[in-house]
């Protein structure tokens, strides 16, 4: 069951085609990575999902039904460029933003207290936002994004500005939210976290989709059949490292066993980082 479906969405600003016939399917309870270089059209696509802008053509289906204004309550959005009212109290502000998402004031207050306890930040309740550090503000923003328990969560660069400990905390929260039933759309340039978190990804460049699929499948598709081998040769000359390209790994293993003791044998899979760079630069060359 796909919770989110985008069908043939296009958007043009002036003469510039920002999105060209983009289609994706995001299964329920999965994490979907939306990847692409700066200016690829990710933010426009996310704004279309949030109904901030309308697509010129195409359709967005949420839970099988076309997107409508009441879906605002079903979506939580953490934008890349994010901020809070500096002069407002943290709690007042979070409750205000939750109310705008359609929550009742009392319920928002109750859930906010729960989240503040969970993150160990209960002492910030009456502080003004300007008294908090940037990392602290980011935590508040994360809570604001998830407080109304949306079915679809959109995170745009959620880890920027966090220290490694908080990145870890956030990753665990994101996984927990998915396990509880949320579908997550995740946009980032941090390929390590893509490999760690995403089930499926889409890579867009200049408004065009250039790659889509599960992280595993994509890695398989772009592997170049090279293997990393460590063995101890029979002549007793210590461990030897080899990197070999072959389409027949069995033959390779037999060959090595005959020469000595095999210590480790690993297939080298391309990192998402490499795939990203290769695909984007080759698609840029094609366009020129």
């Amino acid at each position: 069951m796909n919770y989110l479906e985008i069908n043939h969405v296009s958007k043009t600003y002036g003469t510039k085609k920002v999105l060209n016939d983009i289609s994706i399917k995001v299964p329920e309870k999965s994490i979907f990575g939306l990847l692409g270089p700066n200016g690829a059209g990710k933010t426009t696509l996310i704004r279309i999902l949030n109904q901030i802008t309308m697509p010129d053509s195409g359709q967005v289906l949420l839970n099988g039904k076309p997107l409508c204004p009441s879906d605002i309550a079903n979506i939580g959005y953490l934008p890349e460029e994010r901020g809070l009212y500096k002069k407002m109290k943290v709690s007042e502000q979070a409750i205000y933003l939750a109310q705008l998402k359609g929550m009742d004031k009392k319920e928002a207050d109750r859930r906010l207290r729960h989240w503040f306890m969970k993150f160990g930040i209960a002492s910030w309740w009456d502080k003004k936002v300007e008294e908090l550090s940037k990392g602290m503000q980011q935590k508040v923003q994360f809570i604001v994004t998830v407080i109304h328990e949306p079915k679809l969560l959109i995170f745009d660069e959620p880890f920027s500005g966090f220290d490694p400990i908080n990145v870890n905390l956030l990753k665990n929260e994101i996984l927990e939210l998915r396990d509880k039933g949320a579908t997550i759309l995740f946009s980032t340039h941090n390929m390590a976290s893509v490999e760690e978190l995403c089930d499926n990804i889409m890579l867009i460049n200049k408004g065009e989709k250039i790659l889509e699929g599960s992280v595993y499948d994509i890695k398989q598709q772009y592997k170049n059949h090279s293997y990393d081998i460590v063995y101890k040769p029979n002549d007793g000359s210590g461990e030897t490292h080899l990197t070999v390209n072959t389409t027949n790994p069995n033959e390779l293993i037999q060959d090595i066993i005959s020469k000595g003791e095999l210590v480790s044998f690993n297939e080298i899979l391309p990192s998402m980082n490499e795939i990203f760079i290769n695909l984007v630069s080759s698609s840029n060359q094609q366009n020129q």
Partner: protein, 437 residues
Amino acid sequence: MKIGIIIEREYLTRVKKRSFLIITFLAPIFFAALMFLPAILMTQSDKFEERRTIAVCDETTLFTNRLEETDANTFLYINKDIDEAKSLVKDGEYDAVLYIPATTLNVPTNAEIYSMKQLPMSLTSHIRSQMKQVVEREKLLASGIDPAIVKASATTINLQTIKMSDKDDGEQKSFGEFEFILGLALALVIYFVIFIFGSQVMRGVIEEKTNRIIEVIVSSVKPFELMMGKIIGIALVGLTQFLLWGVLTLVISGVASSFLPTQDVFSAGTVMTEQIAEAGINTTDDSTLTEVFEVINSINFKDILWCFLLYFIGGYFLYSAMFAAVGAAVDNETDTQQFVTPISLLLVIPMVCSSLIASAPDSSLAFWISMIPFTSPVGMMLRIPFGVPIWQVVLSVAILFITFIIFTWLASKVYRTGILMYGKKTSWKEIFKWIKY
């Protein structure tokens, strides 16, 4: 309703600010002080003044026993040498000595007053006017004219302008000057409040944009709702402030006048007229004070208040929609100048013409300025105290409100595009493009 939540936030965050409270509570105290301090000072001034004994060393003998004494000042006519008198001032016998040297023609026009301390202006001007009366009287007598005749011949002309109207009972005394001042004051107030609260809208929009909170908010509400919520919320802040000012001014005036018996205020008025009479100006039965009260009574303050509120709301909405669009179009407050200047010029036009309008409130210039929606709030306020035909007020308010609806709609288009644009310097051309989207 989400717009209600937005209005609530915009309203509460501003009303709870310390600066709002300070301005709200200090301004009425200031107004009340302006109203009452002169009256208080006038009635109490005698009590502050020290008692003085002034020796008069009059070589002409013309003034002996002819200078009128006041509560604080006693004149003592002495027959001593001026040097001796001066040394007595030094010893503290007298507070001052007035020396009138002898003249050959016996029309003394020079005098000197010696004292150890600075003498108040009121004393020197009293002496001057007393001496003047005495000398003038002497001169008249010398020419064989009875001073009583001269006094009786002094006249002031009281010219009353009466405005006629179609109704039989509609004849009304009109008092140009008071209306002129009231009109200017109203125009100035409405000019400032539109500008102050309009630019608050602009700053609010810029704050949301530079804070980058805007993206989260527009994913929850429509930009139009956010813009209108802000405009309405700030309008309510303005109305709250007016209401509190009104109530507090009344309360403070009430308290102040209970400390100051009304008798004193009226006697202050009579003191004033007496002084004018003394200065040689003969007043008719209508004292200036009663005339002022008559003018105040003849003005329909209720109608003026309603007009003020209508034009405040209309003008504020029109201008704040434009200010909101400007706020959305720029990245920070320093970039607003190129857009704010033309907008504020529109509002300044009627202020520039204010004396022309108020001195000829029925001229065609006044008519058109009070019809054009950008200038009508200020323009109409200048004319209102003189009485404006009701059809003109209705027409002008209708034009103003229709324009503000159109402009809110246009502004919302600029706003919608502008709030999500970063890092680009916006030009007028760009703004017109956004309207067409």
